[in-house]
Amino acid sequence: MKGILICTADLIKKHFKHSIVLIIQIAVTVMIFVGFIGKVQYIRSTKDVANTFNKDNVIYYYPFTFLDSEFKTEDVIKQNNLNVKSVGEADYMMINCDDQLLPIVGYNDTLLEYANLEIASGKWFNDSVDKNVIPLISTTDQYKLNDHITIKDRAGESHDAVVIGTIDKDGYVLGFNRSASKSIISAEFFVSKPYSYFIAPYNSEIYSSLSEQYDMFVEMGMPKMTLGKIITYDSKEDAEAIEKEFDKYGSVADIKLMITNYKKDIKFNILINGIILAVFAILTATGIGGINGLQSRLDRRNYIVYYILGMNQKQCALTELLRSLFVVALGFITAVILYTFESVRNFLYSSEMIISPLNFILALVFLLLICCFVSMKYVIDLGKGSLIERYKNQD
């Protein structure tokens, strides 16, 4: 082993300048590769959220933001005698949690029935929940499963709340914070990154008293956030009537169509990103493999000398592998260090990418495969023909 380590060190020293170039190339490759994987992860993740939605007989309605604050969906339904099964709403609230004013998104019963988000730990609301405490789903790292929180309502009365489930911090929720239109209809409009600390059910008395905190928020001069709604129906005729009437007050789209379109978008996105990723992977493998292979060729004379002096082919292979691994490891570490800089992250990655350790692991596996392939090919080549003759011919 001593000989292998000494020879590896010799070869790294011999190609120091080459190695620096290779390390930079590998670091850049890792950063780009991580971004590509992040984009594919993002697309897959939003697809999962859209899939959790029960899409039968549901219309997505997003009110015009300029509507009077007195405008109520229920009034339109009553006035026009619309045959509506139920209305699912999300509400954005500012609530006093442990003496901090935190944003919470409330889902009403209909929404909770239709949405069943994938949670990282714990359970969703429709599973059995202790009625004496306010159940919350945490969407940040700040609050963990089973954390107890004291919520104060506007009257100053305290209520106990508990985190019954968590959503992965890179996960997605039904945000309902973008409008759909007839020309561009896709589930992307109601899937979003979590923009609150918690998701909570808000239909009970206590929640409505809590949501009054929102008035205080408005008093502070902050504009009310307009959120979309879902309207469920029984028949096609009902749907047509609902769409026709609500079209006057906002954008309306059939959720089934939105999800179908979204899945088409996702397939197209995955295909495009997959092609780019494959082309990039081939170019990278050729580039890194090429430079690494060039180094290996330049080292061939060294290996023949080592072989003559008592190294066997397995040890030659191991030395070559260690040399490659060292360069790959340094390149990878450089990429990880670069990633810790916020400016680098902001420059390379958008919010529509999920960057996790898995991305880095996949990038590393890809590099190791290139490394092993080049080393193996080199060792196979080394075993062909007479070494001494090749040494003499400086092949």
């Binding site: 072989y307 003559i308 002096l309 008592g310 001494i388 040494y391």
Partner: protein, 219 residues
């Protein structure tokens, strides 16, 4: 007898044509012999030397080294034999040019399983290169490089020295010095096999083996 070759046959395939380089060669070399192998280019001298030095295998025949059948040994065992029983001196010195003389001399010891102490400085002093131990091999003259290669061949105290055209790249003065060193080594008990084109080098050996078209012609 320390080296016994019986009916050794070796062929290479070039452009789908089979070329027999060694054709049932039988050869015995005794301990402490100084043997020269001569022949024209392509006659099979280097192939024979490679087989003797365990750098290559024969296709047919039997090779006994100190009574042990080389053909039955694994790659790992062969590399140990190359490391411990053979010292190699090559025409172009086969040094690692970016490394120092000392590093080059010590190289075989890094692959050795023996834990014995190696006296690099003593060998370097004997060969007149002690002052050059920290010099890069690329900066040495031809004679100095070959003396470094000889030092490296001796560092593991091998029984056999394999020399492939050891004076081929040297001027006559340095060639003579190197041959004198090789003869001295032979006197110290080393069995030495030299491949050479040079009649003057061959004449200094105890025995000359001629090889032509893969066959031994005369001794």
């Amino acid at each position: 007898m320390s080296i016994q070759l019986k009916n050794i046959k070796k062929s290479f395939v070039n452009n789908k044509a089979k070329n027999t380089v060694l054709n049932k060669i039988s050869l015995d070399i005794n301990d402490n012999e100084l043997v020269a192998i001569m022949g024209r280019s392509g006659a099979g001298k280097s192939t024979l030397l490679n087989i003797i030095g365990c750098l290559d295998n024969s296709d047919e025949g039997e090779y006994l080294l100190d009574g042990k059948n080389i053909n039955e040994m694994s790659n790992s065992e062969l590399s140990t034999i190359r490391n411990e029983k053979f010292g190699f001196i090559m025409q172009d010195f086969a040094l690692i040019e970016d490394e120092t003389v000392k590093h080059n001399i010590m190289l075989p010891t890094y692959f050795s399983k023996n834990k014995k102490k190696y006296d690099c400085e003593k060998i370097a002093k004997t060969l007149g290169i002690k002052k050059l131990l920290d010099t890069k091999a690329s900066l040495l003259s031809g004679g100095e490089k070959q003396r470094t290669a000889i030092a490296r061949a001796l560092i593991n105290d091998p029984k056999y020295i394999i020399a492939d055209e050891p004076t081929g790249a040297l001027d006559s003065k340095n060639a003579e010095l190197i041959m004198d060193t090789i003869i001295e080594l032979n006197k110290l008990g080393k069995t030495i096999i030299i491949v050479t084109h040079d009649e003057n080098v061959a004449k200094k050996c105890q025995r000359i083996i001629y090889i032509s078209d893969g066959n031994l012609k005369a001794e």
